[in-house]
């Protein structure tokens, strides 16, 4: 097999396993968690295998046609960046499966949807990070959003889950569309959608495209002002929060930033836009975390803060080399996933998630407490954890930036320090609030399974090990060089860089953070609630609900719900478009040859006059019977008018149809209340609608009348009818030109016409019985019938 097939297999394997999981889940006693882990493990294994075959510079592009005529092919780019994310996805996925297998209550029948969603998610994630074609990347990108939607809504009867799922899908999908527009513009401008070709220098980037793509990135990575969906997404089961909403999916924005950095890095907006939004998000997230009480909300806000930090780092076109960025990402994956799992365990064993109601759990579950401690330490950036080194290198970058752009750099530095201080305090509160202090009296506790505690402990251990011995990661990270990622070489990662400004700032942050924690603890976290104006999620929800309201008002205002307005609107549109086309080509319209002084046929003029007079009778006469008579008189004169057009067939038909219609109308009117009963008469008032009617009628009349004259002036000199008449005797064997056309030349029209009559008759008959289905729209549906039989009971 080729590398392509292996890679495709690695990507698709999890989704291919979905039916197996769904089927297996139908049996009650089966551990789906482990079954799910198998394809993930296999994918992981395959990825390792593929990466071992990669030659330096570790980038390979493989391609498989999919929609070649649109230029969309399954092209995959295997390089360090994608491999790194691929490993993270599979590795964390395995731990999450382990965790979920023990965490999720309920039968496998209920939970199989969860595992299916998880597997589907893994495929879409892997697809996203490996795609080379930007459109294919977008396809997978949106699929991750759908997977996330389904997983957030796993407990879908909970209104919170519904809200959270809706928010996340709407935000990520709509920002995704901006990304799509950006991708299309980039592809059209550069002539290719292939990332590898774009990275190789074919790209023609500009600020507008960057802004569009950045919106997509911000939406996915929960950057301000789109950050609000992430806390809402915490309605998902905890393994999902740990996996999708801290470790992997929200990192996609970071991933894409890394991907397009070589393309857009020199663009004017890069630093300002990404840096500004990133660092702003960092502060906002930290602030929101500081004021949250719910454990998952707190972690979600902290995640937002960290994501902002990561994006901000890329914005600075960092000088520390790509290893550092991988290191930051890895560090965050380790400790945030661990902390989410810890929270899950806490919730699992106490049923609570609110910091104010928790405390003193440390002695009851020491292993989890230890994991929690390590995670919180990394979060706060204590030495010997990965968080410390992250912070150090970031500070180095920031100090560099201050030298280049003093104002911007100082702002970013201040933001980082502020956010780090807040994060320190929050991390301290997180740990002490759960594990230390006195246990509230009404807290019920049951021990979690021992093995449930292992995955977070493993992750937490990672933060400690790699934080203490960062050198362990030097070689693997060096290997992960890739196409166009930051290839500036930098020094190896190390725990100790000597006494320098960064260390001083770090210490300062820790000290102030501790102080902040102590003061707030002393004050009892009274201010720990999110101010209303920052509740973006509620504003958004209100906006969506309000949308329904305003949509209704708008639809109402457009009169779409007021049927009597349809015809006036239609006619207005007709006149407006005809008038528009007339005005737009005013010069071309020729009325040459028109003259009022032409031969007026007295008889036809008289007939026309009589017809019009009778029609005015229809308007002005009071009684319906009188109006009907006027109408038939008008029809009679019209018949004569037809006759004067040398159309005997027409005249005969018209008079017969006229009389048949009159009989039918008479039958109808006999049943209607009479006009005098209803007190109706010719109505015309000074209200605007009367004038509107008048205006529209005059407009239609003038328009159609002038069309007749226009047609007269521009008549084609060789109408087909003349030829038909010539052939009428010769080829159609009839003398009556009209009849030969009707039954021979255009007999098909006549066939259609009698079909119309037949249908109209069927329809009319159908109206003569009333279907009993109960009141409208709220109606009880009938019991459905069977395909062919009909043994069901009547309602």
């Amino acid at each position: 097999m080729t590398a392509l097939n292996w890679l495709l297999l690695a990507i698709l394997l999890p989704t291919l396993a979905v039916p197996a999981v769904l089927l297996a889940g139908a049996r009650e006693r089966i551990s789906l968690g482990w079954l799910t882990a198998a394809p993930m493990g296999a994918s992981c294994f395959l990825l390792v295998g593929i990466s071992s075959t990669l030659e330096p510079p570790h980038a390979q592009v493989v391609s498989q046609p999919w929609i070649p005529s649109l230029g969309i092919n399954l092209t995959f780019l295997m390089d360090g960046l994608s491999m790194f994310f691929g490993w993270v996805i599979c590795g964390v996925g395995l731990l999450v499966c382990w965790y979920a297998a023990l965490y999720l209550k309920g039968s496998s029948r209920e939970n199989r949807r969860f595992y299916a969603g998880l597997l589907f998610f893994v495929t879409s994630m892997l697809g996203t990070v490996f795609s080379d074609n930007l459109l294919v990347l977008f396809v997978f990108w949106e699929l991750t959003g759908v997977a996330s939607f389904l997983l957030i809504g796993f407990w879908h009867e909970d209104p919170e889950a519904q809200r959270g799922a809706r928010q996340s899908l709407v935000v990520t999908a709509s920002t995704g569309l901006c990304l799509l527009v950006g991708i299309i513009l980039l592809g059209q401008g550069s002539g290719t959608y292939s990332l590898s070709e774009l990275l190789a220098g074919r790209a023609r980037p500009n600020g507008g495209i960057l802004a569009l793509m950045a919106i997509g990135i911000f939406g996915k990575s929960a950057q301000f002002p789109f950050h609000f969906w992430l806390p809402g997404a915490m309605a998902a089961p905890t393994p999902v929060s740990a996996y999708l909403h801290s470790a992997t999916m929200v990192k996609l924005g970071v991933f894409l930033t890394a991907r397009i950095f070589p393309i857009f890095g020199d663009t004017v907006l890069w630093l300002e836009l990404l840096g500004g939004v990133g660092f702003l998000t960092m502060v906002v997230g930290a602030f929101l975390a500081f004021r949250s009480n719910d454990l998952k909300a707190l972690l979600a806000h902290a995640t937002i803060s960290q994501l902002g930090f990561l994006i901000g780092l890329y914005a600075m076109s960092a000088s520390v080399g790509m290893q550092a960025e991988f290191y930051h990402t890895l560090s965050h994956v380790f400790y945030k996933a661990a902390l989410f799992m810890v929270v899950g365990i806490v919730q699992h064993s106490t049923g609570l998630r609110d910091l104010r109601q928790l405390g003193g759990l440390g002695r009851l579950m020491p292993l989890t407490a230890l994991a929690g401690f390590l995670g919180a330490a990394a979060w706060a950036g204590l030495p010997l954890t990965t968080g410390f080194i992250s912070k150090e290198s970031a500070l180095t970058d920031l100090l560099e930036l201050v030298k280049l752009h003093p104002l911007l750099g100082a702002t970013f530095l201040a933001a980082t320090l502020l956010a780090a201080t807040l994060n320190t305090a929050v991390a301290a509160r997180f740990f002490t609030g759960i594990f230390l202090g006195r246990r509230p009296a009404n807290l019920t506790f049951h021990r979690p399974a021992r093995s449930l505690e292992i995955p977070p402990a493993l992750l937490a251990a990672g933060t400690l090990v790699f934080g203490t011995f960062p050198g362990l990661l030097n070689r693997p990270l060096d290997w992960l060089s890739g196409l166009g990622t930051h290839d500036k070489s930098a020094g190896p990662l190390a725990l100790w860089h000597g006494w320098n400004g960064e260390l001083l700032l770090s210490a300062l942050v820790l000290a102030v953070g501790a102080l902040l924690y102590l003061t707030s603890e002393h004050a009892g976290w009274k201010r720990a609630h999110i101010p209303d104006w920052l509740r973006f999620d509620e504003h958004f929800d209100r906006g969506l609900d309000g949308l329904t309201h305003y949509a209704r008002r708008l639809t109402h205002a457009l009169q779409a719900d007021w049927p009597p307005a349809y015809l006036p609107l239609l006619i207005t549109f007709l006149l407006a478009s005809a008038g528009g086309i007339f005005l737009s080509v005013l010069d071309d319209v020729s009325w040459e040859g028109f003259s009022w002084r032409t031969h007026w046929n007295v008889w036809r003029g008289a007939m026309a006059g009589f017809t019009v007079a009778a029609m005015f009778g229809v308007i002005f006469l009071r009684r319906w019977s009188a109006q009907l008579i006027a109408l038939s008189v008008a029809g009679f004169f019209l018949t004569l008018f037809f006759a004067m057009y040398h159309a005997p067939d027409l005249a005969m038909t018209q008079i017969l149809v006229e009389s048949a219609s009159v009989v039918m109308i008479l039958l109808l009117l006999a049943r209607f209340p009479s006009s005098s009963q209803l007190g109706l008469r010719f109505e015309f008032g000074w209200e605007s609608r009367h004038f509107l009617r008048l205006l529209l009628s005059v407009g239609v009349g003038l328009f159609m009348g002038s069309l007749v004259l226009f047609a007269d002036l521009h008549r084609n000199s060789e109408p087909a009818g003349r030829e038909m008449l010539r052939l009428s005797k010769v080829a159609a064997h009839g003398d009556n030109g009209v009849n030969t056309i009707l039954v021979d030349f255009r007999g098909f029209d006549t066939l259609g016409e009698i079909t119309v009559l037949f249908i109209a008759a069927l329809g009319g008959l159908g109206l003569m019985m009333r279907y009993k289905r109960g009141p409208r729209r709220s109606n009880e549906a009938l019991p459905p019938g069977f395909l062919l039989g009909g043994e069901e009971e009547a309602p």
Binding site: L177, L558, F710, R746, E780, P784, L788, G790
Partner: protein, 503 residues
């Protein structure tokens, strides 16, 4: 000799057989109509294969043996073949669905004949190559649609048929006048012949006048702003099987004739009109999707969505590049399938919840995971989530729009997509994720399962369009190219000798 007449005659003969031989509804009649519908589908497939084997060169039938412009011709080109297949396919599925929907004892005896007559009208619309015959075909279709609309309406609903009728009768009068005007100005009614003479006139005022008149007429049928009002209130009174048929096909007939007129018949230089059309399309998709948000029952929401999606198709037409026309055709294919299947899914949901008002629905995800999966797929496809069929259509439209620098219109299209997603989520949350309403959810009975299977068949087709976008798109492109190739069309029509061709 070819069989172009049969897509029109078969349904009519079926309907006549129903009124003459099988007067009363019964199982035998159901089987007969289903077989006939299946035969029509097979015939359409056969014709489509023949058309596409000929690289899009249209097949022509001279009715009565008269040569073109004396008699009526039927022309089958790529687009018509595609539409024919879709129409017969949807009719087959909807007929089967209606069998499951109503027990045979309660069947309205006129329903099946009228449905067949409606199909005949639609098929003729696709086939005809004559402007006045198009009018007749429209009337067959419209009168059948009025009849079906009122056939099973109850006393509260029947009034909604009135505005539908009023608007469409006015449109018919306008169409008649437009056809007359076209005859006076071009001296012929044959479309190919009109094309020849219109090309000689270039973009004279007379040509534009006829085009605008026809666009207003077809705009009513397609549902372009502000001519769509008749649609969203009248469709909801239909039962779901008929609603699926109407929503899938009737408005798309309007789109089809707009395509036919602008691409095949009239010169390709009417830039002002394309510009106007594009802005109307933008307004259509935005205002209609807002209309969908204002509704709170499934049929109402879906009806407004039809209009909103029409906006995309018309937008693609208005961009008027070969790629854009191909995009439009692709979108039409996608939309017909997705919209009909959403109706079918909604109809199945109706039988679970005994109502399609969102306030009274719920619990469907638990009651029928299959139905939930089908709905989710189709709803996301409608909203344009990749790699489902709706995405490729939207992508093509965005891409052609961006290429032409129509940023505002693309922006409107993006916004409309987002709003579409929001309103589909509204259905999803209320009907599927919400806990079951009081009174619970019905148990799935065999008819309900049959409905789910039918919806599943449609969904599979739609998935096929999404994942196999390549062949579908290639077909669309062939169809678009032959559609825009006026000389090929004229050659095909005039090259067929008929009576008096030599004289």
């Amino acid at each position: 000799m070819n069989s172009l007449i049969w897509p029109f005659l078969l349904p009519i003969l079926t309907a006549l057989a129903c009124s003459l031989a099988f007067g009363l509804p019964g199982v035998g009649r159901r089987v007969f109509v289903a077989l006939s519908a299946a035969a029509q589908f097979v015939l359409a497939l056969f014709l489509a294969v023949r058309t596409f084997q000929g690289e899009g060169v249209p097949l022509v039938l001279n009715i009565g043996g008269w040569s073109a412009s004396l008699g009526i011709v039927l022309v089958l080109d790529g687009l018509a073949a595609i539409m024919l297949c879709l129409a017969t396919f949807i009719s087959l599925i909807c007929i089967l669905f209606s069998y499951a929907e109503t027990p045979v004892r309660f069947e309205q005896p006129l329903r099946l004949p009228l449905m067949q007559l409606l199909v005949a009208g639609i098929n003729l619309t696709f086939l005809t190559g004559d402007l006045f015959n198009l009018f007749v075909a429209f009337e067959i279709m419209l009168v059948a649609s009025y009849a079906l609309l009122t056939l099973e309406a109850n006393d509260q609903d029947i009034k909604e048929a009135f505005p539908y009728l009023a608007v469409n009768i006015f449109g018919s009068a306008l169409f008649l006048s437009a056809a007359g005007l076209a005859y006076a100005l071009f001296g012929t009614l044959n479309m190919a012949h009109i094309a020849v003479r219109a090309a000689e006139m270039g973009d004279a005022f007379s040509v534009k006048l006829v085009v605008v008149l026809l666009l207003v007429v077809f705009g009513i049928k397609a549902g372009i702003f502000p001519l769509y009002y008749w649609l969203p209130n009248s469709y909801p009174i239909l039962s779901f099987s008929l609603g699926a048929f109407y929503s899938g096909l009737l408005t798309k007939v309007g789109v089809y004739v707009i395509l036919r007129m602008l691409c095949t018949v009239f010169p390709h230089t009417l830039d002002g009109i394309y510009g106007m059309l594009s802005w109307l399309a933008g307004l259509t998709m935005l205002l209609a999707v807002l209309g969908a948000l204002s509704r709170d029952f499934i049929r109402g929401i879906l009806s407004f969505h039809i209009v909103s999606q029409i906006g995309y198709m018309v937008l693609a037409i208005a961009f008027f590049t070969p790629l854009a026309i191909a995009a439009c055709i692709f979108y039409v294919i996608h939309h017909i399938i997705v919209k009909s299947s959403l109706y079918l899914i909604g109809g199945t949901g109706l039988f679970y919840n005994r109502s399609d008002s969102l306030a009274r629905m719920g619990g469907l995800a638990a009651a029928s995971p299959w139905l939930a999966a089908l709905f989710l797929l189709q709803a996301l496809s409608l909203a344009g989530i990749p790699p489902l069929s709706g995405f490729w259509g939207k992508y093509l439209i965005f891409a052609t729009g961006l290429e032409g620098g129509r940023y505002w219109l693309v922006g409107a299209a993006v916004l409309a997509s987002i709003l579409t997603l929001i309103s589909m989520l509204k259905i999803w949350l209320a009907a599927f994720w919400q806990p079951a309403p009081e009174g619970g959810v019905s148990k799935p009975t065999p008819p309900i399962r049959a409905m789910t299977v039918l919806a599943g068949v449609m969904t599979c087709v739609s998935l096929g369009i999404g994942f196999g976008a390549e062949p579908v798109f290639r077909l669309s492109r062939v169809a678009a190219e032959s559609l825009m190739n006026q000389s090929q069309y004229q050659e095909a029509v005039f090259s067929r000798l008929g009576k008096e061709a030599g004289q």
